[in-house]
Symmetry: C2
Subunit: 230 residues, 2 copies
Amino acid sequence: MATDAHREFKNRLYGQFARIGKALSSPHRLEMLELLAQGERTVDSLAEEIGLSLANASQHLQVLRQAALVDTRRDGLFVHYRLADPGVCDLYHAIHSVAERRLGDLERLVREHFGDRAGAEPVPMDELLARARSGRAVILDTRPVGEYAAGHIAGAISVPVDDLQRRLRELPRDRKYVAYCRGPYCVYADRAVEILRGKGRQARRLLEGFPEWQAAGLPIHTGLERGAIR
Amino acid sequence: MATDAHREFKNRLYGQFARIGKALSSPHRLEMLELLAQGERTVDSLAEEIGLSLANASQHLQVLRQAALVDTRRDGLFVHYRLADPGVCDLYHAIHSVAERRLGDLERLVREHFGDRAGAEPVPMDELLARARSGRAVILDTRPVGEYAAGHIAGAISVPVDDLQRRLRELPRDRKYVAYCRGPYCVYADRAVEILRGKGRQARRLLEGFPEWQAAGLPIHTGLERGAIR
DNA sequence: GCCATGGTCAAGTAATCTATTGATTACTGC
DNA sequence: GCAGTAATCAATAGATTACTTGACCATGGC
Protein backbone atom coordinates (compact mmCIF):
# COMPACT_ATOMS: atom_id res chain seq x y z
CA MET A 1 0.00 0.00 0.00
CA ALA A 2 1.35 3.35 -0.99
CA THR A 3 0.12 5.15 2.10
CA ASP A 4 1.90 2.69 4.38
CA ALA A 5 5.15 3.19 2.54
CA HIS A 6 4.63 6.90 2.85
CA ARG A 7 4.01 6.70 6.61
CA GLU A 8 7.11 4.61 6.93
CA PHE A 9 9.12 7.24 5.06
CA LYS A 10 7.79 10.01 7.27
CA ASN A 11 8.59 8.06 10.38
CA ARG A 12 12.15 7.60 9.23
CA LEU A 13 12.46 11.18 8.08
CA TYR A 14 11.28 12.69 11.34
CA GLY A 15 13.28 10.06 13.17
CA GLN A 16 16.39 11.56 11.59
CA PHE A 17 15.49 15.08 12.67
CA ALA A 18 14.64 13.77 16.12
CA ARG A 19 18.20 12.45 16.46
CA ILE A 20 19.27 16.07 16.62
CA GLY A 21 16.44 17.03 18.94
CA LYS A 22 17.33 14.19 21.28
CA ALA A 23 20.91 15.35 21.41
CA LEU A 24 19.64 18.77 22.51
CA SER A 25 17.35 17.39 25.18
CA SER A 26 19.83 17.13 28.03
CA PRO A 27 21.05 20.10 30.08
CA HIS A 28 24.54 18.61 30.31
CA ARG A 29 24.79 18.17 26.58
CA LEU A 30 23.68 21.74 25.97
CA GLU A 31 26.32 22.94 28.39
CA MET A 32 28.89 20.89 26.52
CA LEU A 33 27.87 22.50 23.24
CA GLU A 34 28.26 25.94 24.75
CA LEU A 35 31.74 25.10 25.97
CA LEU A 36 32.66 23.59 22.62
CA ALA A 37 31.48 26.79 20.95
CA GLN A 38 34.47 28.46 22.63
CA GLY A 39 36.87 26.02 20.98
CA GLU A 40 37.75 22.35 21.01
CA ARG A 41 38.23 20.54 24.32
CA THR A 42 39.18 17.17 25.68
CA VAL A 43 36.71 14.82 27.33
CA ASP A 44 38.44 15.21 30.65
CA SER A 45 38.35 18.98 30.68
CA LEU A 46 34.66 19.02 29.79
CA ALA A 47 33.87 16.46 32.46
CA GLU A 48 35.68 18.45 35.10
CA GLU A 49 34.19 21.81 34.21
CA ILE A 50 30.65 20.50 34.10
CA GLY A 51 31.06 18.25 37.09
CA LEU A 52 30.45 14.91 35.43
CA SER A 53 32.29 11.64 35.77
CA LEU A 54 34.62 10.91 32.90
CA ALA A 55 32.56 7.96 31.69
CA ASN A 56 29.36 9.95 31.83
CA ALA A 57 30.85 12.85 29.91
CA SER A 58 32.18 10.45 27.32
CA GLN A 59 28.75 8.93 26.86
CA HIS A 60 27.09 12.30 26.45
CA LEU A 61 29.69 13.26 23.89
CA GLN A 62 28.92 10.16 21.97
CA VAL A 63 25.27 11.01 21.84
CA LEU A 64 26.31 14.36 20.39
CA ARG A 65 28.58 12.66 17.91
CA GLN A 66 25.93 10.24 16.77
CA ALA A 67 23.69 13.21 16.14
CA ALA A 68 26.55 14.62 14.06
CA LEU A 69 26.75 17.77 16.15
CA VAL A 70 30.36 17.24 17.16
CA ASP A 71 33.48 15.72 15.67
CA THR A 72 36.63 14.34 17.20
CA ARG A 73 40.34 14.46 16.61
CA ARG A 74 42.82 12.31 18.44
CA ASP A 75 46.14 13.77 19.46
CA GLY A 76 48.25 11.30 21.35
CA LEU A 77 46.47 10.34 24.51
CA PHE A 78 43.84 13.02 24.14
CA VAL A 79 40.64 13.07 22.12
CA HIS A 80 39.60 16.59 21.24
CA TYR A 81 35.94 17.26 20.57
CA ARG A 82 34.75 20.20 18.52
CA LEU A 83 31.51 21.41 16.95
CA ALA A 84 31.02 19.65 13.65
CA ASP A 85 29.49 22.59 11.84
CA PRO A 86 28.86 26.32 12.29
CA GLY A 87 25.19 25.43 11.92
CA VAL A 88 25.34 23.93 15.39
CA CYS A 89 25.89 27.43 16.75
CA ASP A 90 22.87 28.67 14.81
CA LEU A 91 20.88 25.85 16.29
CA TYR A 92 22.06 26.78 19.72
CA HIS A 93 21.17 30.42 19.22
CA ALA A 94 17.77 29.54 17.84
CA ILE A 95 17.06 27.73 21.10
CA HIS A 96 18.35 30.70 23.10
CA SER A 97 16.23 33.10 21.17
CA VAL A 98 13.00 31.16 21.54
CA ALA A 99 13.74 30.52 25.20
CA GLU A 100 14.43 34.18 25.86
CA ARG A 101 11.28 35.35 24.21
CA ARG A 102 8.91 32.64 25.38
CA LEU A 103 10.06 31.11 28.64
CA GLY A 104 9.08 33.31 31.53
CA ASP A 105 10.92 30.97 33.90
CA LEU A 106 14.18 31.73 32.15
CA GLU A 107 13.72 35.46 32.43
CA ARG A 108 12.91 35.13 36.12
CA LEU A 109 15.93 32.94 36.72
CA VAL A 110 18.29 35.34 34.98
CA ARG A 111 16.84 38.34 36.76
CA GLU A 112 17.27 36.68 40.15
CA HIS A 113 20.83 35.71 39.43
CA PHE A 114 22.15 38.79 37.70
CA GLY A 115 19.92 41.44 39.19
CA ASP A 116 19.07 44.23 36.84
CA ARG A 117 21.77 43.90 34.29
CA ALA A 118 20.54 46.78 32.17
CA GLY A 119 21.92 49.12 34.82
CA ALA A 120 25.43 48.06 33.83
CA GLU A 121 24.74 49.10 30.23
CA PRO A 122 26.06 46.15 28.27
CA VAL A 123 27.62 47.02 24.91
CA PRO A 124 26.10 45.40 21.81
CA MET A 125 28.42 43.89 19.23
CA ASP A 126 28.13 46.57 16.57
CA GLU A 127 28.93 49.30 19.07
CA LEU A 128 31.97 47.44 20.31
CA LEU A 129 33.20 46.98 16.76
CA ALA A 130 32.98 50.71 16.13
CA ARG A 131 34.65 51.62 19.42
CA ALA A 132 37.43 49.11 18.91
CA ARG A 133 38.16 50.32 15.40
CA SER A 134 38.57 53.86 16.58
CA GLY A 135 40.74 52.77 19.50
CA ARG A 136 38.26 54.07 22.06
CA ALA A 137 38.04 50.82 24.04
CA VAL A 138 40.31 48.11 25.35
CA ILE A 139 38.74 44.70 24.84
CA LEU A 140 39.32 42.14 27.57
CA ASP A 141 38.83 38.43 27.02
CA THR A 142 37.97 37.14 30.47
CA ARG A 143 37.78 33.43 29.58
CA PRO A 144 40.45 30.90 30.49
CA VAL A 145 43.54 31.43 28.39
CA GLY A 146 43.03 28.21 26.42
CA GLU A 147 39.79 29.51 25.02
CA TYR A 148 41.45 32.79 24.11
CA ALA A 149 44.10 30.84 22.22
CA ALA A 150 41.46 28.83 20.38
CA GLY A 151 39.88 32.01 19.09
CA HIS A 152 39.16 35.54 20.33
CA ILE A 153 37.82 38.88 19.23
CA ALA A 154 40.47 40.58 17.12
CA GLY A 155 42.41 43.06 19.22
CA ALA A 156 41.34 41.65 22.56
CA ILE A 157 43.86 40.90 25.28
CA SER A 158 43.59 37.82 27.47
CA VAL A 159 42.88 38.55 31.10
CA PRO A 160 41.18 35.51 32.63
CA VAL A 161 38.87 36.74 35.32
CA ASP A 162 40.79 34.85 38.00
CA ASP A 163 43.98 36.70 37.08
CA LEU A 164 42.37 40.10 36.82
CA GLN A 165 42.95 41.21 40.41
CA ARG A 166 46.71 40.76 40.29
CA ARG A 167 47.11 42.09 36.75
CA LEU A 168 45.32 45.36 37.36
CA ARG A 169 48.54 47.34 37.05
CA GLU A 170 48.67 46.38 33.35
CA LEU A 171 45.41 48.22 32.85
CA PRO A 172 45.82 52.00 32.94
CA ARG A 173 43.11 54.07 34.60
CA ASP A 174 42.56 56.43 31.72
CA ARG A 175 41.20 53.84 29.28
CA LYS A 176 37.70 52.46 28.80
CA TYR A 177 37.29 48.72 29.03
CA VAL A 178 34.86 46.27 27.52
CA ALA A 179 34.98 42.74 28.89
CA TYR A 180 33.50 39.70 27.17
CA CYS A 181 33.26 36.00 27.89
CA ARG A 182 31.48 32.87 26.72
CA GLY A 183 28.08 34.36 26.12
CA PRO A 184 25.18 36.30 27.57
CA TYR A 185 24.69 33.82 30.43
CA CYS A 186 28.32 33.59 31.42
CA VAL A 187 29.34 35.51 34.52
CA TYR A 188 33.03 36.05 33.82
CA ALA A 189 32.56 39.39 32.12
CA ASP A 190 30.17 40.55 34.83
CA ARG A 191 32.70 39.71 37.51
CA ALA A 192 35.45 41.45 35.59
CA VAL A 193 33.37 44.61 35.21
CA GLU A 194 32.65 44.56 38.92
CA ILE A 195 36.32 44.27 39.81
CA LEU A 196 37.38 46.94 37.32
CA ARG A 197 34.78 49.42 38.49
CA GLY A 198 35.75 48.72 42.08
CA LYS A 199 39.26 49.81 41.15
CA GLY A 200 38.22 53.03 39.46
CA ARG A 201 38.16 51.89 35.84
CA GLN A 202 35.39 52.59 33.39
CA ALA A 203 34.15 49.19 32.30
CA ARG A 204 31.16 47.61 30.62
CA ARG A 205 30.51 44.13 29.38
CA LEU A 206 29.74 42.93 25.87
CA LEU A 207 26.10 41.91 25.76
CA GLU A 208 26.89 38.73 23.85
CA GLY A 209 29.94 36.48 23.91
CA PHE A 210 32.63 35.12 21.65
CA PRO A 211 30.50 32.52 19.83
CA GLU A 212 27.96 35.17 18.85
CA TRP A 213 30.72 37.48 17.63
CA GLN A 214 32.18 34.68 15.55
CA ALA A 215 28.79 33.64 14.18
CA ALA A 216 28.17 37.24 13.12
CA GLY A 217 31.29 37.02 10.96
CA LEU A 218 33.09 39.78 12.86
CA PRO A 219 36.90 39.80 12.98
CA ILE A 220 38.58 37.18 15.14
CA HIS A 221 42.11 35.92 15.73
CA THR A 222 43.57 32.71 17.01
CA GLY A 223 46.70 32.06 18.99
CA LEU A 224 48.17 33.66 22.06
CA GLU A 225 49.58 36.82 20.53
CA ARG A 226 47.33 39.81 20.48
CA GLY A 227 45.90 40.29 17.03
CA ALA A 228 45.17 43.82 15.88
CA ILE A 229 41.62 44.78 15.07
CA ARG A 230 40.94 46.22 11.69
CA MET B 1 29.65 28.24 48.90
CA ALA B 2 29.64 30.49 45.87
CA THR B 3 30.63 27.78 43.45
CA ASP B 4 27.74 25.59 44.53
CA ALA B 5 25.29 28.41 43.97
CA HIS B 6 26.85 28.93 40.60
CA ARG B 7 26.52 25.26 39.66
CA GLU B 8 22.95 25.37 40.79
CA PHE B 9 22.30 28.37 38.55
CA LYS B 10 23.89 26.66 35.57
CA ASN B 11 21.85 23.56 36.13
CA ARG B 12 18.66 25.59 36.15
CA LEU B 13 19.73 27.65 33.17
CA TYR B 14 20.55 24.70 30.97
CA GLY B 15 17.49 22.95 32.33
CA GLN B 16 15.42 25.72 30.79
CA PHE B 17 17.09 25.38 27.41
CA ALA B 18 16.69 21.63 27.63
CA ARG B 19 12.93 22.07 27.94
CA ILE B 20 12.99 23.19 24.35
CA GLY B 21 15.39 20.45 23.32
CA LYS B 22 13.18 17.84 24.94
CA ALA B 23 10.19 19.12 23.02
CA LEU B 24 12.17 18.63 19.82
CA SER B 25 13.28 15.13 20.69
CA SER B 26 10.29 13.21 19.42
CA PRO B 27 9.61 12.47 15.75
CA HIS B 28 5.89 12.92 16.26
CA ARG B 29 6.33 16.32 17.84
CA LEU B 30 8.60 17.45 15.03
CA GLU B 31 5.99 16.35 12.53
CA MET B 32 3.39 18.32 14.45
CA LEU B 33 5.55 21.43 14.31
CA GLU B 34 5.93 21.07 10.58
CA LEU B 35 2.18 20.79 10.14
CA LEU B 36 1.59 23.75 12.44
CA ALA B 37 4.04 25.75 10.33
CA GLN B 38 1.42 25.56 7.56
CA GLY B 39 -1.17 27.17 9.81
CA GLU B 40 -3.13 26.45 12.95
CA ARG B 41 -4.87 23.09 13.38
CA THR B 42 -7.10 21.25 15.78
CA VAL B 43 -5.92 18.38 17.95
CA ASP B 44 -8.11 15.95 16.09
CA SER B 45 -6.86 16.90 12.65
CA LEU B 46 -3.25 16.59 13.76
CA ALA B 47 -3.89 13.23 15.38
CA GLU B 48 -5.54 11.88 12.27
CA GLU B 49 -2.92 13.11 9.83
CA ILE B 50 -0.02 11.81 11.87
CA GLY B 51 -1.76 8.59 12.83
CA LEU B 52 -1.84 9.07 16.59
CA SER B 53 -4.61 8.44 19.06
CA LEU B 54 -6.37 11.59 20.14
CA ALA B 55 -5.11 11.33 23.72
CA ASN B 56 -1.58 10.74 22.58
CA ALA B 57 -1.65 13.71 20.23
CA SER B 58 -3.07 15.87 22.97
CA GLN B 59 -0.27 14.86 25.31
CA HIS B 60 2.42 15.61 22.73
CA LEU B 61 0.86 18.99 22.12
CA GLN B 62 1.04 19.71 25.78
CA VAL B 63 4.71 18.95 25.86
CA LEU B 64 5.10 21.46 23.05
CA ARG B 65 3.02 23.98 24.91
CA GLN B 66 4.97 23.60 28.11
CA ALA B 67 8.12 24.25 26.12
CA ALA B 68 6.36 27.41 24.89
CA LEU B 69 6.67 26.37 21.26
CA VAL B 70 2.94 26.41 20.58
CA ASP B 71 -0.09 28.32 21.77
CA THR B 72 -3.78 27.52 21.80
CA ARG B 73 -7.04 29.21 21.02
CA ARG B 74 -10.43 27.75 21.78
CA ASP B 75 -13.26 28.23 19.30
CA GLY B 76 -16.43 26.49 20.38
CA LEU B 77 -15.77 22.79 20.57
CA PHE B 78 -12.39 23.06 18.92
CA VAL B 79 -8.99 23.90 20.35
CA HIS B 80 -6.70 25.30 17.69
CA TYR B 81 -2.96 24.98 18.16
CA ARG B 82 -0.48 27.26 16.43
CA LEU B 83 3.22 28.03 16.57
CA ALA B 84 3.86 30.44 19.40
CA ASP B 85 6.59 32.40 17.69
CA PRO B 86 8.22 32.76 14.27
CA GLY B 87 11.42 31.76 16.04
CA VAL B 88 10.05 28.24 16.21
CA CYS B 89 10.32 28.07 12.43
CA ASP B 90 13.91 29.24 12.62
CA LEU B 91 14.58 26.54 15.14
CA TYR B 92 13.00 24.01 12.87
CA HIS B 93 15.06 25.15 9.92
CA ALA B 94 18.24 25.14 11.94
CA ILE B 95 17.62 21.46 12.66
CA HIS B 96 16.89 20.81 8.99
CA SER B 97 20.01 22.55 7.89
CA VAL B 98 22.32 20.71 10.27
CA ALA B 99 20.63 17.42 9.46
CA GLU B 100 20.96 17.98 5.73
CA ARG B 101 24.60 18.83 5.92
CA ARG B 102 25.69 16.33 8.52
CA LEU B 103 23.45 13.29 8.58
CA GLY B 104 24.39 10.91 5.82
CA ASP B 105 21.46 8.70 6.75
CA LEU B 106 19.05 11.48 5.92
CA GLU B 107 20.56 12.06 2.51
CA ARG B 108 20.39 8.36 1.77
CA LEU B 109 16.81 8.16 2.92
CA VAL B 110 15.74 11.10 0.77
CA ARG B 111 17.60 9.79 -2.25
CA GLU B 112 15.93 6.41 -1.97
CA HIS B 113 12.52 7.91 -1.63
CA PHE B 114 12.64 10.70 -4.15
CA GLY B 115 15.17 9.30 -6.58
CA ASP B 116 17.35 11.92 -8.20
CA ARG B 117 15.32 14.99 -7.64
CA ALA B 118 17.82 17.31 -9.28
CA GLY B 119 16.67 15.93 -12.63
CA ALA B 120 13.32 17.64 -12.07
CA GLU B 121 15.09 20.98 -11.66
CA PRO B 122 13.39 22.43 -8.61
CA VAL B 123 12.96 26.20 -8.64
CA PRO B 124 14.57 28.16 -5.79
CA MET B 125 12.53 30.84 -4.05
CA ASP B 126 14.21 33.89 -5.55
CA GLU B 127 13.75 32.56 -9.06
CA LEU B 128 10.08 31.86 -8.44
CA LEU B 129 9.60 35.37 -7.12
CA ALA B 130 11.09 36.86 -10.28
CA ARG B 131 9.09 34.59 -12.57
CA ALA B 132 5.87 35.24 -10.74
CA ARG B 133 6.34 39.00 -10.83
CA SER B 134 6.79 38.96 -14.56
CA GLY B 135 3.81 36.66 -15.02
CA ARG B 136 5.93 33.91 -16.51
CA ALA B 137 4.70 31.20 -14.17
CA VAL B 138 1.48 29.99 -12.63
CA ILE B 139 1.99 29.08 -8.99
CA LEU B 140 0.06 26.08 -7.70
CA ASP B 141 -0.51 25.47 -4.00
CA THR B 142 -0.88 21.71 -3.78
CA ARG B 143 -1.65 21.52 -0.06
CA PRO B 144 -5.10 20.83 1.37
CA VAL B 145 -7.31 23.84 0.89
CA GLY B 146 -7.41 24.65 4.61
CA GLU B 147 -3.70 25.28 4.61
CA TYR B 148 -4.04 27.48 1.54
CA ALA B 149 -6.66 29.51 3.36
CA ALA B 150 -4.44 29.86 6.42
CA GLY B 151 -1.70 31.40 4.28
CA HIS B 152 -0.23 30.96 0.81
CA ILE B 153 2.29 32.42 -1.58
CA ALA B 154 0.84 35.61 -3.03
CA GLY B 155 -0.65 34.92 -6.42
CA ALA B 156 -0.84 31.15 -6.02
CA ILE B 157 -4.01 29.24 -6.81
CA SER B 158 -5.18 26.38 -4.67
CA VAL B 159 -5.12 23.01 -6.41
CA PRO B 160 -4.82 20.30 -3.75
CA VAL B 161 -2.91 17.44 -5.26
CA ASP B 162 -5.86 15.09 -4.85
CA ASP B 163 -8.04 17.39 -6.95
CA LEU B 164 -5.45 18.02 -9.64
CA GLN B 165 -6.44 15.20 -11.98
CA ARG B 166 -10.01 16.34 -12.36
CA ARG B 167 -9.20 20.05 -12.48
CA LEU B 168 -6.67 19.79 -15.27
CA ARG B 169 -8.96 21.58 -17.71
CA GLU B 170 -8.55 24.75 -15.63
CA LEU B 171 -4.86 24.69 -16.41
CA PRO B 172 -4.10 25.72 -19.99
CA ARG B 173 -1.32 23.91 -21.81
CA ASP B 174 0.55 27.02 -22.89
CA ARG B 175 1.56 28.13 -19.40
CA LYS B 176 4.47 27.14 -17.21
CA TYR B 177 3.65 25.84 -13.74
CA VAL B 178 5.48 25.84 -10.45
CA ALA B 179 3.97 23.70 -7.69
CA TYR B 180 4.79 24.03 -4.02
CA CYS B 181 3.71 22.34 -0.83
CA ARG B 182 4.64 22.04 2.83
CA GLY B 183 8.39 21.93 2.45
CA PRO B 184 11.32 20.22 0.83
CA TYR B 185 10.38 16.82 2.24
CA CYS B 186 6.73 16.97 1.32
CA VAL B 187 5.71 14.93 -1.70
CA TYR B 188 2.61 16.85 -2.79
CA ALA B 189 4.46 19.12 -5.18
CA ASP B 190 6.42 16.22 -6.62
CA ARG B 191 3.23 14.32 -7.32
CA ALA B 192 1.66 17.37 -8.88
CA VAL B 193 4.63 17.90 -11.18
CA GLU B 194 4.46 14.28 -12.22
CA ILE B 195 0.77 14.52 -13.08
CA LEU B 196 1.18 17.81 -14.92
CA ARG B 197 4.09 16.58 -16.99
CA GLY B 198 2.18 13.41 -17.78
CA LYS B 199 -0.52 15.62 -19.26
CA GLY B 200 1.81 17.68 -21.41
CA ARG B 201 2.30 20.69 -19.14
CA GLN B 202 5.63 22.28 -18.32
CA ALA B 203 5.97 22.01 -14.56
CA ARG B 204 8.63 22.20 -11.86
CA ARG B 205 8.42 22.23 -8.12
CA LEU B 206 9.53 24.90 -5.69
CA LEU B 207 12.61 23.62 -3.90
CA GLU B 208 11.34 24.79 -0.54
CA GLY B 209 7.81 25.08 0.82
CA PHE B 210 5.40 27.62 2.23
CA PRO B 211 6.98 27.98 5.69
CA GLU B 212 10.35 28.77 4.17
CA TRP B 213 8.78 31.35 1.84
CA GLN B 214 7.03 32.96 4.76
CA ALA B 215 10.15 32.90 6.94
CA ALA B 216 12.06 34.63 4.14
CA GLY B 217 9.62 37.50 4.37
CA LEU B 218 8.36 37.04 0.80
CA PRO B 219 4.82 38.10 -0.11
CA ILE B 220 1.97 35.95 1.19
CA HIS B 221 -1.81 36.17 1.36
CA THR B 222 -4.44 34.60 3.53
CA GLY B 223 -7.99 33.58 2.75
CA LEU B 224 -9.52 31.62 -0.07
CA GLU B 225 -9.51 34.28 -2.78
CA ARG B 226 -6.49 34.44 -4.98
CA GLY B 227 -4.27 37.33 -3.93
CA ALA B 228 -2.28 39.05 -6.64
CA ILE B 229 1.49 38.97 -6.45
CA ARG B 230 3.28 42.24 -6.43
C1' DG C 1 -31.90 19.71 31.53
C1' DC C 2 -29.75 15.97 28.12
C1' DC C 3 -26.79 14.35 24.51
C1' DA C 4 -22.97 14.40 21.23
C1' DT C 5 -18.48 16.00 20.25
C1' DG C 6 -13.63 17.74 21.02
C1' DG C 7 -10.26 17.57 24.20
C1' DT C 8 -7.87 16.65 28.60
C1' DC C 9 -6.60 13.98 32.71
C1' DA C 10 -5.00 9.84 35.34
C1' DA C 11 -3.20 5.39 35.87
C1' DG C 12 -0.57 1.59 34.25
C1' DT C 13 2.90 -0.75 31.45
C1' DA C 14 6.66 -1.07 28.22
C1' DA C 15 10.44 1.17 26.46
C1' DT C 16 14.08 4.45 26.78
C1' DC C 17 17.45 7.40 29.06
C1' DT C 18 20.83 8.66 32.79
C1' DA C 19 24.51 7.97 35.80
C1' DT C 20 27.46 4.73 38.24
C1' DT C 21 30.70 1.12 38.52
C1' DG C 22 34.36 -1.68 36.97
C1' DA C 23 36.63 -3.65 33.00
C1' DT C 24 38.87 -2.80 28.61
C1' DT C 25 41.12 -0.37 24.78
C1' DA C 26 44.43 3.16 22.81
C1' DC C 27 48.33 5.48 23.11
C1' DT C 28 52.94 7.41 25.17
C1' DG C 29 57.25 7.03 27.40
C1' DC C 30 60.43 4.18 29.38
C1' DG D 1 57.58 -5.45 26.86
C1' DC D 2 55.62 -2.66 31.01
C1' DA D 3 53.51 1.14 33.49
C1' DG D 4 50.57 5.06 33.39
C1' DT D 5 47.05 8.08 31.47
C1' DA D 6 42.91 9.26 28.45
C1' DA D 7 38.96 7.51 26.87
C1' DT D 8 35.51 4.05 25.76
C1' DC D 9 32.70 -0.06 26.65
C1' DA D 10 29.46 -3.06 29.29
C1' DA D 11 26.25 -3.99 32.76
C1' DT D 12 23.16 -2.25 35.93
C1' DA D 13 19.62 0.25 38.83
C1' DG D 14 16.72 4.18 39.00
C1' DA D 15 14.34 7.84 36.70
C1' DT D 16 11.79 9.50 32.62
C1' DT D 17 9.10 9.02 28.61
C1' DA D 18 5.62 7.06 25.27
C1' DC D 19 1.40 5.09 24.39
C1' DT D 20 -3.05 2.86 25.77
C1' DT D 21 -7.25 2.73 28.16
C1' DG D 22 -11.10 4.61 30.35
C1' DA D 23 -12.84 8.37 32.99
C1' DC D 24 -13.72 13.13 33.07
C1' DC D 25 -14.45 18.19 31.63
C1' DA D 26 -16.05 21.92 28.27
C1' DT D 27 -18.98 23.53 24.75
C1' DG D 28 -23.02 23.86 21.65
C1' DG D 29 -27.50 22.10 19.94
C1' DC D 30 -31.77 20.36 21.21
